[in-house]
């Protein structure tokens, strides 16, 4: 029910010390290239390439990676079936045999494209999430001039998510051991108690945090250390590799534009 060990990998993988700006640029630009592609080839290649990077360069255990991908994959698969059947023009190449439903070439191609784009996009997202710690992402948010108040809220929220998750898990387990979720009615009552208690506790924590911060000279802004490098420290070599990679991908997008599976 509650799984968030992802953060641990972000801090301990083999690509941890790579310049975070490089990783973010790499993941986001590739994500956009995957999105603008009009054939499934480039997104699928991106998926395979990033999976390779995650498993063999960052050395994330394959079991954990597959677990991370399970949610998007299930969703992508359902989407694929749904779109292939309901979102196509023209003659059916495969008739399902009931309710006049079938798969047309047009629908199949569209479904394949969306499926590939989802998988390609999530591989980029997984790369970002599994190799770059949140704290470094916050520094980047600040560097690209996201309003300070938003960055501070994000940092505080990130901290509290884990604290409250702990608390929620404890409450959930103790309710469960007391048969709190044995019937539907009890489930609602227990869940309601859990959420409202959590809300009251979060409120108290918020007040206490402010007192604690104020007693430590809080003047309305949170100061952090930013020594994660900058865009300039990426280095010419890595930067040109990045540009080359994306240009080749864009060329591939252009060349494969007319390709259809069916």
């Amino acid at each position: 029910m509650f799984e968030l060990t992802l953060d641990g990998y972000a801090h301990s993988n083999e690509l941890r010390n790579l310049n975070p700006y490089f990783k973010v640029l790499f993941a986001i630009i590739t994500m956009i290239v995957s999105l603008i592609s009009t054939s499934p080839i480039v997104p699928l290649f991106i998926f395979l390439f990033f999976t390779f990077l995650i498993l063999f360069e960052a050395k994330i255990p394959i079991k954990f990676y597959l677990k991370f991908l399970l949610v998007p994959f299930t969703f992508a698969f359902i989407t694929f079936v749904f779109m292939a059947i309901f979102f196509g023009y023209g003659q059916y190449v495969y008739d399902l045999g009931f309710l006049n439903l079938g798969v047309s070439a047009d629908g199949f191609n569209r479904a394949a494209l969306v499926f590939a784009r989802i998988m390609g996009g999530f591989a980029c997202l997984a790369f970002l999430a599994l190799t770059t710690p949140m704290t470094e992402l916050f520094a980047i948010l600040e560097a690209i001039k996201i309003p300070k108040i938003v960055v501070e809220l994000t940092m505080l929220m990130y901290r509290y998510i884990f604290l409250f998750l702990d608390e929620a898990i404890n409450m959930y387990h103790s309710q469960e051991t007391r048969n709190g979720y044995s019937t539907m009615k009890k489930s609602y009552k227990s869940m309601g108690m859990l959420v409202s208690n959590l809300f009251i506790k979060t409120w108290l924590k918020g007040e206490q945090t402010f007192i604690a911060m104020e007693s430590r000279c809080y003047d309305g802004s949170i100061k952090t250390m930013n020594d994660f490098g900058s865009v300039k420290t990426i280095g010419i070599k890595k930067f040109s590799l990045l540009i080359l990679f994306e240009v080749v991908l864009c060329a591939a997008v252009y060349l494969s534009a007319g390709f259809h599976i069916l």
Binding site: L69, V71, F87, I118, L125, Y160
Partner: protein, 231 residues
Amino acid sequence: MHIAEGFLPWQWCLFWYIVALPVIAYGIIQIKRVTDEHPESKPLLAVSGAFIFILSSLKLPSVTGSCSHPTGTGLGAVLFGPAAVSVLAAIVLVFQALLLAHGGITTLGANDFSMGIVGPFAAWLIWKGARKIGWSSSLAIFIAAVMGDWLTYVTTAVQLSLAFPIPTFEAAFVKFIAIYAYTQVPLAIAEGILTVVVFEYIMKLRPDILVKLGVIKSEDPEIVKARTEAV
């Protein structure tokens, strides 16, 4: 509810970003003004955001037997106001994408528009309206939570059918709404019931918080009743 990374064509990703950004910017200005006047509200807003995240990672038993998670938009909007929720929801959506692989970065604009803007604003308006015509807080928050959820789904269905108008926008809309009707309508009712239970507990245990947040006026008969019961 969450539109996955890569699902929308890039034109629509861009479009929803452009639509959502002014509202988020307005929300940021609001938050900035509040936190400048009352510095103690900053940690409070942060824990509220974390609360919304936890809420959306809880699995909820539903009437149809399936399980899903509440969106928290209704409760969040009633407690903290829709402008603040639009910003908090955007941050929560980034965390959900990075930590749980729900939603995505390119579809952030579209998701924030449906779950952070339309849903909360509708829930908040319904809550205010229902309270004004004198409905009880439980009924008002139930309707607000359910309608907030439903309007979120309708918005998502509109977004999806605009992106895939096949064969026409209306036909695609009917298909998407049909799926949501089967899976999400019972879930919205389930979330409505849960929201009522939560709200009544808070009302019973710490009505002063609701007064301080401006959700309920201190001279409200329900608050007076809760207070006398507590004594």
